[in-house]
Symmetry: C2
Subunit: 608 residues, 2 copies
């Protein structure tokens, strides 16, 4: 039943050899990996204006030079990530680059930072999308958290179905959003150029003197604008998902995404400036621009609808990048091994499910109000940005390939800017981002503890050809019996077929019962030794466990192994389970974890 529900939700399993068919072409990759970056167009300009609004409308012209700065940073990032893609065609992005060039700990910091970041991406963007939905349908407002969780579950299922299928479904909203914003910007600029703008609009000319403006404030506005750049790194993490030649396709996708992002972001920023739009709590900047340009007609709702969609789907970028990153970390033994296993549909299902569960927990914890996690999330991106650029600098210095000075310059500028942005974040928004200093070290420590454990295990499991294990001399089998039944008969029979060292153990709660049982046993199985143990506290476990200790001690001296046979009733109907097996389950669990004995479970299938 369960498995047919699973089939319905995520589809039939795929053969391992179908992995190639699951790879992405450029158009699908752009849809699936750029939704996060492109969605920032919906709020990037607004973030800048919110900071400038603390001075007044006269300061809004600064959004133009700040946007130029952001575009410059974007260009630097695209250039440097292009180099990373070709240098590390197997993906892994910041984690692999930092680890290989800067050492394990910088790599883990980058990796841990990104892992947390992808969880934040999902929680924040789904919450933002849910807000857009509940703004449109206020009746849904009390169910915000529930709707957000359902959306996460849907996106998780989509990703469990596999990459290409989700890419096919997601391509529409992403391209519709791009189309909507392109139309908006095109019509807006056309109207301005032809003088068809409303008379009421007003904006301060660029360069107008602004009293009270400070460098701190401008830096803060710049840092806020940089939140438009989150998600740019996703492509470099996901190269293995591309069709061959993967690095070329990834690089083309990256440049395409960068160009689109630059175009949309500068268009929106320009229109916002020209229309003199101020950020409002009740209406987003994009909505104001669309209303100013189109009026409240169907084009306006098209822009609003696709914006809401892209905000939700921005989450999807995390679903491509997180499992791949978790795989890389797990392969290096810094995360549990289960993250290396491909599921039925060839995705790393454990990574996908973990991401879904973690973001649902985050959404529930913050009751769907995840806005104040945004700065944390921007910092979480710029740490790996900086580390990977720095790693590339070291790589060029070490390898010095043809044209290395140009390459080094690109990464150097990238590193410098991202480090600057990071420092601006820490200086201007410390109260919102200090938490990163708590959780990042904890995550890195945790990675190391996992690694230490796996290394220790590897050491212990290694076969030593010089010292092969000593052959076992013989076996002792202990059969706990609760009465004279067919199950006991089966167990004794099985034990007899393996060894002649058998102890049937009977736990009695009073003397009379003990005597009676011994007599019955003597008649029934005279050739099998019966040990009766008194239990004063009605516990079966305590006397049995003591007895096993004694036997085990003696057995190990002679290099014998001790096996305990425990029957398990297999019932015809699953509810019958509550009528059986409680004590055998407890005994088995206890003995497996606490004793050095082998536990053999004998199934006894009921016929009705």
């Amino acid at each position: 039943m369960l498995s047919s529900i699973k089939r319905l939700l995520i589809g039939r399993p795929l053969k391992s050899t179908a992995l190639g068919e699951q790879k992405l072409n450029i158009l699908k990759a752009l849809a699936i990996l750029s939704s996060d970056a492109l969605s920032s167009v919906a709020y990037g300009t607004e973030q800048i204006l919110i900071v400038l609004a603390t001075i007044g409308a006269v300061a809004f012209w600064y959004s133009i030079p700040i946007a130029v700065g952001v575009l410059f940073l974007l260009a630097a990032l695209i250039l440097s990530y292009r180099q990373i893609i070709f240098s590390y065609p197997h993906g892994g992005g910041a984690y692999v680059v930092s680890k290989e060039n800067l050492g394990v700990n910088p790599g883990l910091i980058a990796g841990g930072s990104l892992l947390v970041d992808y969880i934040l991406t999902v929680a924040v963007s789904v919450s933002a999308g849910t807000d857009a939905i509940t703004s449109a349908f206020p009746a849904l407002h009390p169910h915000t958290v529930f709707i957000a969780c359902i959306l996460v579950v849907l996106i998780t299922l989509l990703n469990l179905r596999g990459l290409t299928e989700s890419a096919t479904i997601l391509a529409y909203p992403v391209y519709l959003f791009v189309l909507a914003i392109l139309v908006l910007v095109g019509v807006g600029i056309f109207k301005i150029a032809t003088g068809h703008t409303s008379a009421s609009i007003h904006h301060a000319p660029i360069g107008a003197p602004v009293s009270g403006i400070t460098l701190f404030l401008l830096l803060r506005a710049f840092a806020s604008g940089c939140s438009a750049l989150t998600g740019v790194e996703a492509i470099s993490n996901a190269i293995p998902n591309f069709k061959d030649p993967a690095p070329n396709n990834a690089s083309k996708t990256l440049i395409l995404m960068g160009s689109l992002l630059a175009l949309l972001f500068s268009g929106i920023t320009f229109l916002a400036y020209y229309y003199g739009i101020a950020p409002k709590a009740s209406e987003t900047v994009v909505s104001q621009i669309a209303r100013e340009t189109f009026g409240r007609n169907y084009l306006y709702f098209f822009v609003q609808g696709t914006t809401a969609l892209i905000l939700v789907l921005a989450a999807n970028t995390g679903y491509s990048a997180f499992p791949q990153l978790a795989f890389n970390l797990a392969k290096d033994k810094y995360m549990p091994r289960m993250f290396t296993i491909r599921g039925d549909r060839l995705g790393y299902s454990n990574g996908i499910v973990s991401l879904g569960v973690a973001s649902i927990l985050l959404i529930i914890t913050f009751h769907g109000k995840t806005e104040h996690l945004i700065p944390l999330y921007a910092v979480g991106v710029f740490i790996p940005f900086t580390l990977s650029q720095t790693g590339m600098i070291i790589k060029w210095l070490r390898e010095k390939p043809a044209g290395w000075i140009a390459k080094l310059s690109a990464n150097f500028i990238g590193a410098l800017i991202t480090l600057t942005v990071l420092l601006i974040f820490f200086i201007t928004k410390f109260s919102q981002v200090w938490f990163v200093f708590v959780f990042l070290p904890l995550i890195v420590i945790f990675f190391h503890r996992i690694n230490t454990h796996y290394e220790a295990v590897g050491e212990q499991l290694r076969v030593d050809p010089e010292h092969p294990a000593i052959p076992i001399e013989g076996n002792v089998i202990i059969v706990p019996v609760a009465g004279i039944t067919r199950v006991v008969e089966n167990s004794i029979n099985y034990a007899k077929s393996l060894t002649d060292q058998i102890f049937a153990v009977y736990i009695s709660f009073d003397r009379e019962d003990e005597k009676r049982f011994e007599e019955k046993w003597q008649k029934w199985q005279p050739d099998v030794r019966l040990v009766t143990l008194q239990s004063h506290y009605r516990s079966v476990l305590v006397p049995l466990s003591k007895f096993i200790d004694t036997i085990e001690h003696k057995a190990s001296e002679n290099n014998y192994r001790v096996t305990v046979l425990i029957p398990q009733f297999i019932t015809k109907k699953s509810w019958h389970n509550i009528l059986h097996n409680q004590s055998s389950f407890l005994i088995r669990a206890y003995l497996i974890f606490k004793k050095r004995v082998i536990i053999s479970t004998l199934p006894y299938h009921f016929k009705k």
Copy 2:
């Protein structure tokens, strides 16, 4: 750690021989078994007045004859239960009496009805007590459900500690409540007798004509008043908990409880009538009487405080009777066997815990508003009342002991009245009690299905001396291997010590890997057969399971047994578990339930 918390909460385990010390004397038994019955004094009179108030204050004098009727019924019940106690000194009350004299189904109806009833008792009385607490401290009001659940947990823990300990703790509030009501009634009557009552009080004389009064209404009021009699049966269910001579002590306790209940109930009803008290939503009748008698001084608060306490503790009666009844049903194979097991402190812990869990679920389901469950709960008591009285009639008719006519008369009157009350309930409150016709048949069906299953199991487990099991010819051992490790070495070694029919099974995901592994194995364990299986869907389970089927089929033809060896890593720290064992756990669970093979679990203890 867990076990030391358990020790702290419920105390060290007791020896089975300490069972005698855990038995109750009369005073403790009265405290523990009568809290339910006595607590009804707090609301019995009010229930009558609420019905009469629909006509008007002039009808309140009817409360006196109705109370006389209730007292008469009480006397009949006490008399008949006294006879039950002596006839069935091993307890079980209504269930045992009905089953033995009327047949299995009436017995199960009585038993099921009482089981549900005890759960309702706990939920209703704890909710009522919580209401009293939150009325006193309105700040706690939003946490009603939480407080009620905590109270249930506390009472459950108290009962897990054992009978005598909880009796010692509970004796104080019960006797303080009795004292408080006795003082209240005494002072009230003394003031009336000496003419020290306030001038404002007014009541219609007994016998005053009341227009609009109907028989239906009077019957309804009587039925409501009978809710004061719930809990009377508890003693007859719990005879095995009494010190020897158990029946005598139980009978004395019963008579003592009946007298106290009669005294308190008639006192409260008389004062309510004399003071002309009308039921109010904002204040209970007992509170009005106490305020009228004492004014709002410390005596008033003493009455209120002890009333709140006894309402909570009424729940405790259920904790004595439910586990005992569940034991009786489980002994007869109508409930899961686990209800027959005594816990560390000699109580039937599974019954105690189940009762606690079920009432918490009920409280949460009804958000702590369990008042409208009261009629259901009264019906749940009067069904077994009627059945057990009828059973006793049959018993006297069948056995005809000395003086059987007097005995029969007592039970006949009891049966007649309880049946009448039951019919009144069904006629006057059908909309609130119809649900009993749904759940009682379901419970009885469920009891029968459990019984059928246990009987079928008993049949299947019976050893047939004519046809002893055929000895096993030999063993095949299958060792799934994932690599060349010490764990595999251990498993192979163990397998070799048991048989020479060993298959090491390796699941490979591609051809190259398969070949490489076969070569390595050939060098390492040339004398152990290696079977490699290709998995196209990355599943280990499917190919392994198919292979096991083939082997098992062949083996069973030759009367061989198949054993699968699965290693289990035992980690040093429990969090390490998430780093291991997922797949071996899944494989084991699947094979145990789906295949006819023996699963041997080899522990591998990590040293770090």
